[in-house]
Symmetry: C2
Subunit: 335 residues, 2 copies
Amino acid sequence: MPITIREVAERAGVGRGTVSRVLNDSPKVDPRTRQRVLEVIRELDFVPSPAARHLSMGRTMNIGVIVPFLTRPSVVERLRGVEAALSGSGYDMVVYSAETVERRDRVFRDASRGHRVDGLIVVSIRPHDVEVERITSAGLPLILIDAYHRLLPRVVIDDVQGGRLAARHLLELGHRRIGFIGDVPRTPFHFVSSRLRFQGVRSAMAAAGVPMDPDLVATGAPSLEVARELVIGLLSNAAAPTGLVCASDTQALGAMEAVRALGLRVPEDVSIVGYDDIEVAGYVGLTTVRQPLFESGGLGAARLLEAVARGSIPVIRETLPVELIVRATTAPPEA
Amino acid sequence: MPITIREVAERAGVGRGTVSRVLNDSPKVDPRTRQRVLEVIRELDFVPSPAARHLSMGRTMNIGVIVPFLTRPSVVERLRGVEAALSGSGYDMVVYSAETVERRDRVFRDASRGHRVDGLIVVSIRPHDVEVERITSAGLPLILIDAYHRLLPRVVIDDVQGGRLAARHLLELGHRRIGFIGDVPRTPFHFVSSRLRFQGVRSAMAAAGVPMDPDLVATGAPSLEVARELVIGLLSNAAAPTGLVCASDTQALGAMEAVRALGLRVPEDVSIVGYDDIEVAGYVGLTTVRQPLFESGGLGAARLLEAVARGSIPVIRETLPVELIVRATTAPPEA
DNA sequence: TAGGATGATGGGAGCGGTTCCACACCGCGA
DNA sequence: TCGCGGTGTGGAACCGCTCCCATCATCCTA
């Protein structure tokens, strides 16, 4: 049975209120008394019960993080950022993972109902209006990372710019027939990054006065295998693309495999640009767009903590920049 | 201000005790009363406060998970398994990440002191004896995943067998000069899997009557780059290995890069076996050892939940099997 | 019809903290 | 010497729930 504040008080010969005051370092405690209490606390290895503290203060010292598939490296990286920012703040990180569509809704209810957490971070998922309504009306601070909602604060990464950089790079190399491999347009989670990246590609093309051929755009589940099949389809086309922008490195790897499967070469026959800069990207020499994933998680968490401390809703709409990493999968088109 | 049990009781015209009984579906409640209470609960969208519940029951409904680097895909995969097993159990998952050595100790203290969690899962880290002592004497159920301690229950994967399978595969192909690329022997986290895998390699070699050349063993940080340098060193040797077993796929990728950097070919000049079967392994055709990572997390969490329910310590020492996935990076040695 | 067994219920106590109020004690000036 | 304000302090009340005990209604049996 763990030590309670009462035993500390007895042992130190003071009242429970005084111990509490020491714990919350309230100013009105005699230095000598404080010293004595602190000694007893150390001696007994006393740690106040979070549950009791929460009950009387109405705060839980938990921050909830709702994430989609932990299989996505980008999600994990953001989660790491959140964890790093939370660590040392006194807040614990409670992870709610919405791996499947059915779990999505339950996770939102679990996380936002009752008094489970003091604040909520939602990564890469767009909450429904009713969820937003419930959460905000419950006074629960909420921040989105890599997601958009007109009523909510967010930290996002400049996906449009990322797509633009990728396409512009190919254009500058001299490519004209540029394709795009993206995520399916409408997912139950409302992932939007792929769409935004595509938007960036289009805008770069438009700026360069190069028409975008809709036949060179293909979407599907963001797996290596699906991407490979999509790209095989594109390349079998009469007017095949000479350059491809992919919405993720995983898909870019699939694209590379497709090119090779057709007996073609990267970058001589087809240039490929990925997105994410995952570890193997460097290994295979993939030209890609790097995003500050870790930082986005950290920034979101930091802003949320401020809001929780102030008891207000976070105010931030920040867009972090991306960076093009040129490696070996892009080159001027032959012929 | 959220609804409390008192308001539900008033509105339903019953006592608080009765509402509590309904919530915990205790048998002794008249069906009609229960019905009425449930209606009011739904009507008011009432959710009992976890903090209050915890305080009076002495349970927090939190399970703590201590993990090392979330950058390791294997750790994330196990975490997914834990999360899946916890989901729907009513328990929330609190993640403590020990990214750095300094944080390691603090994380253990945070997680085990006070009444923060009802049970603890430690992934891939070996707790110190004093930590074990403190946690168990506090009556906190604890289970290790991918780690060993003589006093603690565990779920591990058969690393020795994995190493053995990998080496045996190379031996059967006719290799005799077999090397090993592993993790540094002593890390602050006490990672042991690399060592066990090496042990398996040795035992397979011994069983086949093939001597193991200590010059063909190299260890270093488990990154692609470090592995590449190590392998370049090995291959520059007078009597270079024809086959390599690597303690992780990441290292195997580094090894492949090294082989190529030296103008040699995989598998014609050097056969390579990885470990983990991460996503890109299939992509690059890496022969590797697949382990039930997700399952190990799930099994550990399930056993812990049972123990928490029974109020006892978990009793399990389970070793899960591995599987060799033969792809394109292994072949009989030339010459 | 009285008495006992049984089942359903109300409500007090307690979980371990925080907060607030009352009070003891101090030094001060009148 | 007395009264005053300020400072530290002890302890009651409370946070929202569970648990347990006492109470009461009901039904069965002698």
